[in-house]
């Protein structure tokens, strides 16, 4: 997987399913254009030429989009906050903090996302009587917080060591130096990586359909159980996700290019 070039030659590897930003290679025909053209054409063909039953399916399925975006946005925010503390915990000077953050990351990495999601969802429901949406957002935040923590850790370590030294030499506390000097630079470094996580999260949010939230996938499954049109429905569901993800990945890539230009 291609690493993102970072300041000072430091590299941040984004793994764990994040889609890397799609960047054109400057030619008219590139893979992103072919794929988006295919997806849009296929969707339009189904909706306007084949029509029945696809227009019906589309209308049902797209109703799940707000929920998909809502869960994704909420969980990204949650995982950024959790990731910040995890990243700080990983690099903190206290051994106990290192261990807490480390165990959390190991734990999350070692369990399949779907299993975690179901487990946390039911645990939250049983002990905190949380339902549906908040439980799903918290569960996804906890899962993604671990990966976000790795991104923060790498981002903090990508800030040159001299920055902390200069801040300390001026009499700042470690906390002040972190807050005022290191983290603002970290944010700039990791924004593209967070964009990628957003896309990955949007896809993974489809897993919440198993826990009774009516997102895009769930609406599709409900439709199948009513009409038995499984192939047709899932084709539409897949195309809807594909179009959303392709558009977003282009946005992230464009944003990243803009930021690099403004250096």
């Amino acid at each position: 997987m291609a690493p993102l070039e970072k300041q000072g030659g430091t590299r941040i590897e984004v793994t764990d399913g994040a889609l890397l930003p799609t960047r054109g290679d400057g030619r008219i025909i590139d893979s992103w254009r072919i794929t988006i053209a295919f997806a849009i054409l296929a969707l339009l063909t189904l909706l306007f030429f084949a029509k029945d039953p696809y227009d019906q399916i589309f209308r049902v399925v797209i109703k799940g989009a707000p929920l998909t975006f809502g869960v994704t946005a909420g969980a990204i925010l949650g995982s950024i906050i959790l990731g910040l503390f995890t990243g700080l915990g990983q690099i903190a000077r206290g051994r106990v903090l290192n261990l807490i953050a480390g165990v959390y990351v190991e734990l999350i990495r070692g369990i399949p996302l779907l299993v975690q999601l179901i487990f946390i969802y039911f645990a939250l429901g049983k002990f905190f009587h949380l339902n549906g949406l908040p439980a799903a957002i918290i569960a996804l935040s906890i899962c993604y917080g671990a990966y976000m923590g790795e991104i923060f850790r790498a981002g903090i370590q990508a800030v040159p060591k001299g920055q902390m030294e200069a801040a300390l030499a001026l009499g700042m506390t470690r906390g002040q130096a972190m807050r005022l000097i290191i983290l603002p630079q970290t944010m700039k470094i990791i924004i593209p990586a967070i964009g990628n996580e957003f896309i990955a999260m949007l896809k993974d949010s489809s897993l919440v359909s198993v826990i009774a939230l009516r997102d895009i996938l769930r609406r599709g499954r409900e439709h199948v159980s009513r009409t038995f049109l499984s192939l047709e429905t899932y084709a539409v569901v897949a195309l809807v996700y594909l179009v959303i993800t392709l558009v977003l990945s282009k946005l992230v890539a464009t944003m990243e290019d803009r930021m690099n230009k403004h250096e």
Binding site: P160, G162, Q163, E165, A166, A167, L168, A169, L170, G171, M172, T173, Q176, L180, I181, P184, Q185, K188, E263
Partner: protein, 246 residues
């Protein structure tokens, strides 16, 4: 000199990095208003010595007093000492997300509790002093190396330090920018600032240094005024090194 106040008092300073002993018991007394130049081959412990004074490196033995305050031990107040010592780095270490003015005014506000008005007024005055009054809104990325280093000096001065530490302040600069930085340092020396400077700029040494310290392998080999050490060094090691760089 002996009737003057002692600003930095280094006593038996040791730094053991595990693989190397970077400082092997260094003694050095720097008086108020004095400019001490530190020279020596690469790896001789010059940076380690400077960085020990504001505890960017923690000593593994010995003691340092900055204006009478101990650096090591239960009474050590490291933040007070860092407030009182300004440091200028080889590669500037300006904060890239802050303008020149913010780089300078930040620590006085956050560390000394100055109001933004006070801190900015002081920062403008310092920018003027280093000849960059028209660049207050520039980000470090928009400044040349020499300009960056002058902002870095202003940033350190904004804390009103009692001692300034310079670690090879002109080594990362293109030759044509060295002078503008040395000129600022010369002014500072003439105004009576206590300065410890790691540098091999001989012109600066002769013009500004009261004493030159030659270090080798973690020890001070020889200390003498610049004219004496450059022309009549006593120690063989000093002579050999000077022949190399002169």
């Amino acid at each position: 000199m002996s009737d003057k106040r002692i600003m930095v008092d280094i006593r038996g300073a040791e730094k053991d990095f595990g693989i190397v002993m970077a400082l092997k018991g260094v003694d050095l007394t720097v008086y108020e208003g004095e400019v001490v130049l530190i020279i020596g081959p690469s790896g001789s412990g010059k940076s380690t010595l400077l960085r020990s004074i504001n505890r960017l490196e923690a000593l593994t033995g010995g003691q340092i007093f900055v204006d009478g305050d101990p650096l090591v031990g239960p009474e050590a107040d490291i933040r007070k000492i860092r407030e009182e010592t300004g440091m200028v780095f080889q590669d500037f270490n300006l904060f890239p997300h802050k303008t020149a003015l913010e780089n300078i005014s930040m620590a006085p506000m956050k560390v000394k509790g100055k109001t933004p008005e006070e801190a900015q007024a002081k920062a403008r005055e310092l920018l003027k002093r280093v000849g960059l009054e028209d660049r207050e809104k520039s980000y470090p990325g928009q400044l040349s190396g020499g300009q960056k280093q002058r902002v870095a000096i202003a940033r350190a001065l904004a804390m009103e330090p009692k001692v300034m530490l310079f670690d090879e302040p002109t080594s990362a600069l293109d030759p044509e920018m060295v002078k503008e930085v040395l000129d600022v340092m010369l002014d500072l020396a003439q105004e009576g600032m206590t300065m410890m400077v790691v540098s091999h700029e001989m012109g600066f040494a002769r013009a500004a240094a009261d004493r030159v310290v030659f270090m080798d392998e973690g020890e001070i080999v020889e200390i003498a005024p610049p004219d004496v050490i450059f022309d009549h060094a006593e120690e063989e090691r000093t002579k050999k090194f000077l022949k190399h760089i002169l």
